[in-house]
Amino acid sequence: MTDVAMKAPAARRLRWPNVPVSVIIAVGWIAAMLVLAAFADQLAPYGFTKFDLRNRLSLPGNPAHWLGTDELGRDVLSRLIVSIRISLLIAFGATAISAIAGTTLGFLAAHFRGLVEQAVLMLADFQASMPFLILALAVLAFLGNSLPLLIGLMGLFGWERYARIARGLAISANAQGYAAAVRQLGATPQRVYLKHILPNIASTLIVSMTLVFPEVILLESGLSFLGLGVQPPMTSLGNMVGYGREYLTRAPWIMLAPAITIVVTTLAVSVIGDWLRDKLDPTLQ
């Protein structure tokens, strides 16, 4: 086995035997979550709002309802699957928005320097110095709530980290090296930033995304738990925990199933992120 590994071409590709078990499990978990989210309609045994009044507060292990039912007889498994879809949609959407917005702002700061750079850094400082939950609650209070707004709002979270990274790396790439070389070939700034700098800093940005992503899940579930995030009849993991809290004494499984999902998912992304950070980017702490 080791012989084969030794003889393998010394490319920088990652080989499976080197991947720790915890990472494989984490990747498997995330993959399962993605499949559940993608095929939620097909996989959910019942409609997530469908009542089964004969089976109210049914215990888990029931052949008709594997994870039991809630007080209205709604299937916890079906609700869980739909919640995973909504929570992941928000988390992925928000992470994508903040990564794109942050990277763009970082590049703009690096390109124009001067006032633009000062403005971006000032906003980044501001964002980093205020607890995001409070800002998010203020926006929700003023603007009301809807799914797109919620995704957009969560998308404001963490952009400053990408902006700082993108700015720093772009400035050093511009100062010496390949970016300056391509620029003097006559390349437009768009080409320099998108075709050259972005692929070169992508690994660092991806690592940052794995750090932001779990925090977005926790934020969204926290807001939804408080009843200020995803609104019924839609459901998310945080919603389910919030709802399950009412039945903590009689039916703790309603709250435990989504709670465990949240914990394991954030843990899985963190494990993958830590591993990627060691693999791709030893410069990050």
Binding site: L185, A187, T188
Partner: protein
């Protein structure tokens, strides 16, 4: 004499640097009132220590940096505004070779893609023609298509510098600035790259500005040489003649310090004093604190670059006034 392709007229460049706790801004005169011309097909070598402003000069001659004063003309017209689309289009005609070839290449693209990039940027030829051109360019720098499929990390230093050269030549530029192109390479590789440059320059009729601290390399490749000290040209002339009969005390010191076959090392001039610091430029002739022949006048008055004869220009009070004994170094 043909009209110069590149004409540099009295360019200056000052950097502001903050230093110390309270950030007192200091001006650093990297380049101070420099003028020269390079005729079509000719190579001008610029020699100087680090901090002499030679790299800044190269960047300004190429239009990568705008001079604070003075102007640069290319092919009879001023260089386009830095960063404008006209400026970008002009890049196809003027190119740069860098000191660190690995830094100048994108590690995530195959070298063939990188050689092709200028053609993509300036939209030269069809896709098939671009592929052919890449093949041709690889050949012209003594590499082949299998090298082209590799990534910069998988090539040697000399090969990388050839890739940079091939990329620079892709758009058939008229003017090439080489900033210390071989100083990061092993000595054994240096000669190969220098010979390749000489070869290509002759074959393609390139006009070059060749910047180096290495007198041997400059002498080998350049027709004319300018010696720079703290942002100014102190001596200018034909390469062979200048190195054979250096007039400026600084050039004399450089020539004597450079190893040459058949010259005994006993008459080596050792420079004393602080190495040149552009942030603290001495008054008068900037070289006077280190000059063996310095007089009171040297500390007070900046010497102008004056033609000694029709070949040589020197900025030294001693050579223009009472001439010191000419040193025959060769």
């Amino acid at each position: 004499m043909t009209a110069p392709l590149v004409e540099v007229l009295g360019i200056s460049r000052t950097y502001r640097m903050r230093s110390g706790l309270f950030g007192r801004a200091a001006s650093v005169h990297a380049v101070d009132g420099l003028s020269f011309g390079i005729a079509k097909g000719e190579t001008l070598g610029i020699v100087g220590e680090s901090g002499s402003g030679k790299s800044t000069t190269g960047r300004m001659a190429l239009g990568l940096e705008s001079p604070d004063q003075g102007s640069v003309r290319f092919d009879g017209a001023p260089i386009a505004t830095l960063g404008s689309s006209a400026w970008r289009a002009q890049r196809a005609r003027m190119q740069m070779i860098f000191q660190d070839p690995l830094g100048a290449l994108d590690r995530r693209l195959s070298v063939a893609d990188q050689i092709r990039e200028p053609l993509d940027i300036h939209k030269i030829g069809t896709a098939a023609e671009r592929d052919d051109r890449v093949h041709e360019l690889l050949q012209s720098v003594d590499l082949n298509d299998s090298h082209g499929r590799r990534y910069p990390g998988a090539l040697s230093g000399g090969q990388r510098q050839r890739i940079v050269l091939a990329r620079a030549l892709a758009t058939r530029p008229d003017f090439l600035v080489c900033d210390e192109p071989v100083s990061a390479l092993d000595v054994s590789i240096q000669a190969q790259v220098v010979n390749l440059l000489i070869d290509l320059q002759a074959r393609l009729g390139l006009t070059m500005l060749f910047i180096s601290h290495d007198l041997r390399v400059v002498r080998q490749i350049s027709r004319k040489v300018a010696v720079m000290y703290l942002g100014r040209i102190v001596e200018y002339g034909d390469a062979d003649d200048l190195f054979a009969r250096p007039q400026h005390p600084y050039t004399q010191a450089l020539v004597s310090a450079s190893p040459a076959p058949g010259r005994r090392s006993t008459n080596r001039i050792v420079l004393t004093g602080d190495p040149p610091n552009p942030a603290a430029r001495p008054s008068g002739c900037a070289f006077h604190p280190r000059c063996r022949h310095a007089t009171a006048r040297c500390a007070a008055e900046v010497p102008q670059l004056v033609a000694l004869d029709d070949q040589r220009q020197v900025a030294c009070h001693l050579t223009t006034g009472a001439r010191p004994k000419t040193q025959d170094a060769a």
